[in-house]
């Protein structure tokens, strides 16, 4: 039974379409959630107007984390952009590396070796697992189950160990670069990865018992934060947020890239589109990624070239052109729009992250009528990363 608030006492829109909120009336209170707040997803904030403990209006504010990456890239050569793109999204940086590299390769007319495609897919799935593990901890924490976050942080760290031995770094891997990837898998990698995957599965079973089969969690998340089907297209909802409503959007299936057409998997779908369903879709997605990593490690060739011969990167000029490259990250469709003008620098880079739509306009719409205590839960359930909003 979906939550139905009594709107009779709430402000009505004025002639200009804005809500008529008279703060002096004493009925309403302004409450800032963020930018420094444990209940906010990263560095953004929501300006809440509450009536009692119910939100009547929420205005999202971003800009606390603006680093101007898109502009910085216009003053860097194509190879120099490679180390900075990962910083656009801290918890899941690899999609930036992949989308940027693929965009450059497409405009420069470069085909990368098959082995590099497998390693890229492996990295992306590892990144998705990590991102989901972070999400699960956050979702549990936002409803008061702080210990779950400690469990998932541990297994996420194990995956970071795998990242470290493969890429040479834990967070900003800087491994997928235009032309291929930096290195092949280290000796015994598959075996150690299997150990990590088993640990993740075990932990996720514990999480399932403690969080997903938890009366308190269900009570607070079932029927709350429902995204109506008619919002899907108008708000550009993608990824698990859409799939939890039964909308089968998965770029890996819709427009397979890298080696996804050779992997066996189906888009994970839900029905109810509430916080609980979204978290469950993500849990199943995570386990699917675990399976995909296993598939990749079995199916990928044992050896092969990992890097295409590039022109001299110090003065690499790419012909005039534009392209949009997309991929399915843990939060939905991640895309890079790249324009080149024949010079050694990108003319324009535009990063289309799913957080921009989910965390700003969609959140403003959905936050109304929520209890203050559920705001954090809703925000986390949309799984958004503010760094990627502010490129």
């Amino acid at each position: 039974m979906a939550y139905q608030p009594d709107r009779s006492q709430y402000p009505q829109p004025g002639s200009d379409g804005k809500l008529d909120i008279d703060l002096k009336s004493g009925k309403y209170l302004k409450l800032w959630q963020g930018p420094q707040h444990p209940g906010i997803t990263g560095n953004m904030s929501v300006e809440l107007t509450v009536c009692g403990d119910e939100v009547v209006e929420g205005i999202t504010h971003v800009g606390y984390l603006h680093r101007g990456f898109e502009k910085l890239m216009e003053r860097r050569t194509f190879i120099q952009c490679f180390p900075i793109v990962c910083r656009i999204c801290v918890p899941e940086p690899d999609f930036n590396e992949y989308c940027y590299a693929a965009a450059v390769e497409e405009l420069a007319g470069i085909e990368i070796p098959q082995q590099a495609k497998w390693i890229r897919a492996l990295i992306l799935e590892m990144g998705r697992i990590n991102s989901y593990l972070m999400y699960v901890g956050g979702q549990a924490g936002s409803f008061g189950m702080g210990v779950i976050g400690q469990w998932t942080t541990y297994v996420r760290d194990l995956m970071l160990d795998r990242f470290e031995e493969l890429t040479g770094a834990r967070i900003y891997h800087m491994f997928i670069l235009p032309g291929g990837v930096r290195d092949s898998l280290p000796e015994g990698f598959a075996q150690r990865m299997e150990g990590t995957l088993c640990e993740i599965e075990k932990t996720m079973q514990d999480v399932y018992d403690a969080m997903y089969c938890n009366a308190v969690y269900k009570k607070r998340s079932v029927g709350v934060g429902v995204i109506d089907l008619d919002l899907m297209d108008s708000y550009g909802v993608t990824g698990p947020n859409a799939r939890a409503a039964g909308v089968a959007k998965d770029v890996r299936k819709d427009q397979p890239y890298l080696v996804y057409s050779e992997l066996e998997f189906e888009a994970i779908l839900g029905v109810d589109s509430d916080i609980y369903t979204r978290s469950d879709v993500r849990r199943r997605d995570l386990l699917q990624s675990v399976d995909l990593v296993r598939q990749i490690l079995v199916k990928m060739p044992k050896e092969g070239s990992i890097m295409t011969k590039l022109p001299n990167v110090l003065h690499w000029k790419i012909p005039r052109g534009e392209t949009y490259i997309r991929g399915e990250c843990s939060r939905g469709e991640y895309g890079y729009y790249l324009v080149t003008d024949g010079s050694a620098y990108p003319r324009r880079v535009n990063v289309r992250g799913p957080s921009y739509t989910h965390a700003m306009s969609l959140l403003e719409r959905m936050i109304v009528n929520l209890n203050i205590a559920d705001v954090a839960g809703l925000m986390v359930s949309l799984h958004t990363y503010p760094p990627e909003i502010e490129r």
């Binding site: 952009c81 290195d183 280290p186 938890n214 890097m307 001299n312 110090l314």
Partner: protein, 595 residues
């Protein structure tokens, strides 16, 4: 919701019984992985200070700075990268792009320091505790950002080229040149090495951009013998090229030639620009070789009146009378000379100073005189019986071949010497033999082992392909003459060593290993010297000398204030050194006349 949902959460309690997963002592128990991108290491001996790491660093974290531990020398700028860890993002592009493989990373990632400036350091110079760490990021074998191989230059097959004096190499096509130019990292170490300091990275960039007129302008700023140097330069630049450390050097000489080949000669004058107004000063130059004509080129552009006296019938000096046509076609050389003449330089041919005009007259008629007479006389071995009429000097024969004079073409020749001149005469004779006798019979003997020959390795390779026989470690002991007085061979002993422990010339032979190289002609190609008899006794006495050569100051001025000397006769033999000399002397004469 089910009844299970009430009890299931209590399963979390099992974690109470689990051991903690945290690492008790992470500072010691948690080393970075084998390919971890940790703190930088730099092998100071391998690093050449090319600065490519600085160029690629997108954070501006790297500065190239002079350090006491590295000296500036050929192929090493003497600079070393200093890294600012306040800016570095450990992307390792610097390691990937490093041209020598000297820059790597350790797997160390913990470094505590109270002084914030300490985090700006020069790896390899400032000693760090991770310097000897074995693990850490190194560029994987399959991951090269730079193409190691040069674009192959097309050339005639041996069986075709031996039939004529046609130029051997094809020259790059535009596509090939762009690909080759693309390999350059623009570090500029070559500029410092080039005797005349050509703007090599800039003209290579012009090739990449397809802007050949800009390229030509850059060439002529430093080298009016670009046609010549584009074909036969000794290319010191390529010996210091950063690309040679982990691959082949950029084909700088061929790229220079490519620019030359792309611009129509009619445009040269316009691109090079007009000369300055006349100064009314008159300068005489003796010798129309690269040094003399470079000086003439510079001085005439500065508005001086320049007259060049040349003993032979054509200009170019050794580049015309020494270097065979298959290496340097005359039309290429003619372009360089024609351009210089078109600027207003007067060349008086067939006029030998000392015989036709005296030095005294030059001194009287001109404000300054340059002696650029080159090394025209061939040295002799003075081995027994080498005064035989069938023993020639290589330079004399090369001169005859160029001038088209007749001489008795040997059926079987033995060349003494392992330098480029030896190869030039051997290959020229081989061509003539092929044309006249239908077969090649030339033997090159030299004292050195073949891998230590002074000649360019390409010359040796091509000579062998053309059917020339090379016999190394052969010390000439005398010419063999039969009873009728006919030269029948050259006697050599095996060379055990050439220099003594103080590096003085003191050859040791194994006289039991004697070989008679049968031949009808012996050609000596063991070096050249200058004939300075043109100076006359008075001037010779007036001048200061340094071991047989006229003593000059750095700028080429002799001890007599109106006389300068330049080129092979003071610094040779080498074209590009002569060009560099020419510029230096021109500057000196210009300041002498105008200040």
């Amino acid at each position: 919701m089910s009844i299970k949902d009430l009890f299931s959460p209590f399963t979390a309690w099992k974690y109470v019984l689990k051991d903690p997963v945290t690492i008790p002592d992470p500072l010691n128990d948690r080393p970075g992985s084998a390919r971890y991108r940790g703190f930088h290491k730099n092998d100071n001996e391998t690093c050449i200070g090319c600065g490519t790491c600085e160029t690629i660093c997108q954070n501006g974290a790297i500065d190239m700075l002079p350090v006491n531990e590295a000296e500036t020398k050929e192929g090493d700028s003497g600079l070393r990268p200093r890294i600012d860890y306040g800016r570095c993002c450990w992307c390792a592009l610097c390691v990937d792009v490093c041209m020598t493989g000297s820059l790597t990373m350790s797997n160390e990632y913990k470094w505590v320091e109270s002084d914030p400036d300490a985090f700006r350091f020069t790896p390899g110079i400032d000693k760090k505790f991770w310097d000897n760490t074995e693990l850490g990021y190194q560029r994987p074998d399959d991951h090269r950002l730079m193409a190691p191989e040069r674009i192959a230059m097309g050339e005639m097959e041996a069986e075709d080229r031996i039939n004529s004096f046609t130029e051997i190499v094809d020259g790059y096509s535009i596509e090939q040149a762009k690909l080759e130019a693309d390999r350059c990292v623009s570090c500029g170490i070559c500029i410092a090495t080039c005797p005349t300091h050509m703007s090599i990275p800039d003209y290579i960039e012009a090739v990449r951009d397809g802007d050949y007129e800009r390229g030509l302008k850059l060439l002529y700023e430093t080298n009016p013998f670009s046609n010549v140097c584009g074909r036969v330069c000794t290319r010191k630049c390529e010996d210091s090229c950063a690309s040679r450390h982990e691959g082949e050097p950029i084909a700088i000489r061929w790229l220079k030639r490519h620019i030359i080949d792309q611009v129509p000669f009619e445009k040269y004058r316009e691109i090079i620009g007009e000369s300055e107004p006349s100064t009314g000063k008159k300068i005489a130059i003796i010798g129309a070789g690269p040094a003399g004509l470079t000086t003439a080129f510079d001085l005439v552009r500065k508005g001086h009146d320049v007259t060049v006296y040349e003993a032979k019938a054509a200009a170019g000096g050794m580049t015309r009378y020494g270097i065979p046509e298959y290496r340097l076609p005359y039309d290429a050389l003619d372009k360089d000379i024609e351009l210089i003449v078109s600027l207003g330089v007067k060349i008086v041919y067939n006029t030998r100073i000392g015989a036709d005009i005296s030095m005294q007259k030059l001194q009287d008629d001109f404000d300054a005189v340059l002696l650029a007479i080159g090394l025209q006389e061939g040295r002799q071995t003075r081995i027994p019986q080498s005064e035989h009429e069938k023993v020639y000097r290589a330079v004399d024969l090369l001169d005859k071949i160029t001038a088209g004079e007749n001489f008795d073409l040997p059926h079987c020749a033995v060349v003494i010497g392992g330098g480029n001149v030896a190869m030039d005469i051997a290959r020229s004779l081989a061509r003539l033999q092929k044309q006249q006798y239908g077969q090649v019979d030339v033997i090159v003997t030299a004292m050195e082992e073949q891998q230590h020959f002074m000649a360019d390795p390409d010359e040796i390779k091509e000579s062998l392909e053309e059917g020339i026989v090379i016999r190394d470690q052969c010390g000439p002991q005398g010419c063999e003459i039969d009873q009728s007085g006919k030269l029948i061979g050259l006697k050599t002993w095996k060379v055990l060593s050439i220099f003594d422990k103080d590096h003085r010339f003191s050859p040791q032979y194994d006289d039991s290993d004697e070989v008679i190289h049968a031949c009808d002609t012996v050609i000596e190609a063991i070096g050249q010297f200058s004939d300075t008899s043109l100076l006359g006794n008075k001037l010779t006495e007036q001048l200061e000398w340094d071991r047989g050569r006229i003593k000059i100051a750095y700028d080429g001025q002799t001890s007599v204030d109106w006389l300068w000397s330049a080129g092979d006769c003071v610094s040779g033999p080498d074209v590009v050194h002569a060009v560099a000399d020419g510029h230096r002397v021109a500057n000196s004469i210009h300041s002498y006349l105008t200040v």
